[in-house]
């Protein structure tokens, strides 16, 4: 079990945003977490990264409880998040953004990994010396994913990588996510685009106002009438 949440609760002041959820991600899996706006998906990811404290319950990553671990420690242990809204460093160049992804690394493979990102995302190579703020939304998203990959993650948390992108780019992003998973990176994918997410995932969780209401094999969820009605825009 690479990641295991047990009874996780997360609060914002007095507001309980995550109300005691259980969730596991096994090594090599691509798991998606879907749900409507405000369901608590990003809050869950922020708690996993240590950006928010757990009010109750536990988070275990690679067999260790993460409580009290500083945020900057987790990437060193292979837990890396590409946050919602991309969070690129707008005034750093594309290449500097990628270098920041490898901030925790000092091994000889960094230069090779940089070239790999440029192979996956040729647009980034063309714009390597440009400040990242001048990139288009889609390019910024690719940069955010490439930057996360530069850390050589064991577990990659992706928060809505398809947000705000044109359909053609959305398809491309999901293709890339699938490819990253195929190369052995374990992924927890948060998405609004439930159909696409379930199509690439092995398993899925459905979150509704702070609680997990459904969980199972991705294929099964795709066929589940409740999911079809609420998240795939089909009438039962």
């Amino acid at each position: 079990m690479l990641l295991e949440l047990k009874g996780l609760q997360v609060n914002y002041g007095g507001i309980r945003a995550v109300k005691g959820i259980d969730l596991v991600v096994r090594e090599g899996e691509l798991v998606c977490l879907i749900g409507a706006n405000g369901a608590g998906k990003s809050t869950t990811l922020r708690a996993i990264c240590g950006l928010l404290p757990a009010a109750a319950g536990s988070i275990r990553y690679a067999g260790q409880d993460t409580a009290g671990a500083p945020v900057h420690e987790l990437p060193r242990r292979g837990l890396v998040m590409a946050p919602e809204g991309r969070g690129i460093f707008a005034q750093l160049t594309v290449e500097e953004n990628l270098a920041m992804g490898a901030y925790t690394r000092s091994d000889a493979g960094v230069a090779r990994d940089l070239e790999r990102q440029y192979e996956i995302f040729p647009r980034l190579k063309e714009r390597r010396t440009q400040t990242a703020g001048t990139l288009s939304g889609g390019e910024q998203q690719m940069l955010a994913i490439g930057r996360a990959l530069m850390a050589r993650p064991k577990l990659l948390l992706l928060d809505e990588p398809s947000m705000g992108l044109a359909p053609r780019l959305v398809a491309k992003i999901f293709e890339i996510v699938r490819e990253i998973a195929r190369q052995g990176v374990t992924i927890l994918l948060v998405e609004q685009n439930a159909r696409r997410a379930l199509e690439v995932a092995n398993r899925g969780y459905v979150m509704e106002s702070g609680s997990i209401t459904l969980a199972g094999e991705a294929q099964g969820l795709l066929e589940n009438p409740k999911v079809r009605e609420a998240y795939l825009g089909e009438t039962a």
């Binding site: 990264c49 950006l51 500083p70 945020v71 946050p83 969070g87 460093f89 920041m100």
Partner: protein, 325 residues
Amino acid sequence: MDIFVQQIINGLTLGAVYAIVALGYTMVYGIIQLINFAHGEVVMIGAMVSFTIINALAAAGLPPLAVVLIGAGCAIPVCMLVGYAMERMAYRPLRLAPRLAPLITAIGVSIILQHLAMLVWSRNVLAFPQIIPLTTYTFLGATITGVQITILGLCLAMMAGLALLVYRTRLGTAMRATAQNPQVARLMGVDVNRVIAATFIIGAGLGAVAGVMVGTYYGVAQYTMGSVLGLKAFAAAVLGGIGNIPGAMVGGLLLGVVEALGAGYIGDLTDLCRYGLGPAASCADGGHFVLFGSNYQDVFAFVVLILVLVFRPSGLLGERVGDRA
């Protein structure tokens, strides 16, 4: 004509020092949006520590350059420690507080440091011993001293070194990333607390050298010297665009030149006799009746500060708000 060149030279010398001090303000502001009003006191402590050492060694018969270098070598670590301590004890606990709280704290730290310095060094003016022989060179009809050349060269070297650090190293990239988005920087594995501490330490180290230079230049140091110098450097940082590193360099040099030219010409320009307005008794036989003398030199920095704040608050090289991702 020579007075023009002369004032440019004098202005660039002081301006280079302002730039070095302004960098301390702007780096800290860039990373935690705090105007560290105590930075001027760090510069003062640098001058006081180095003067103490230099005076103690003045009679030892060492070469003057070695004496000054030892003085600076002692001032730098002391100031770095002061910079680190103020971040750790005064500002870090307030990192999440409303912005006014650390600002007022900075003023408090400034008062505390100034009075600590008064207790250590008394109210007396420390004088720089006569150890550096006056060497002068003539340049375009103006005089430039060896000390001026040294100060200018050293400041330019420090600016180049800082630019290399900030734009070419891992720490520098982490500093810029933290300045833009500390939350995401943490997600990339940056220990934001350490980066902020490093920023204070680097700024204080630069401030220490600036203190040694300005003290050597004027030949005196006193526990109050940090206030006006700090405010001028702050004005320089605002002129260049607070938070912007090249801006602090440009702003410092420009402010020094404006100040020197202002001081050089204000007497002439406000001589009422020129305009036939002065009292006849004073103006007779080519006499003068000067309204504002060069002792108004300090005013220019603040006039510039006000003009910038009114007409271009983002400064010359300042970034638009909203550039943050």
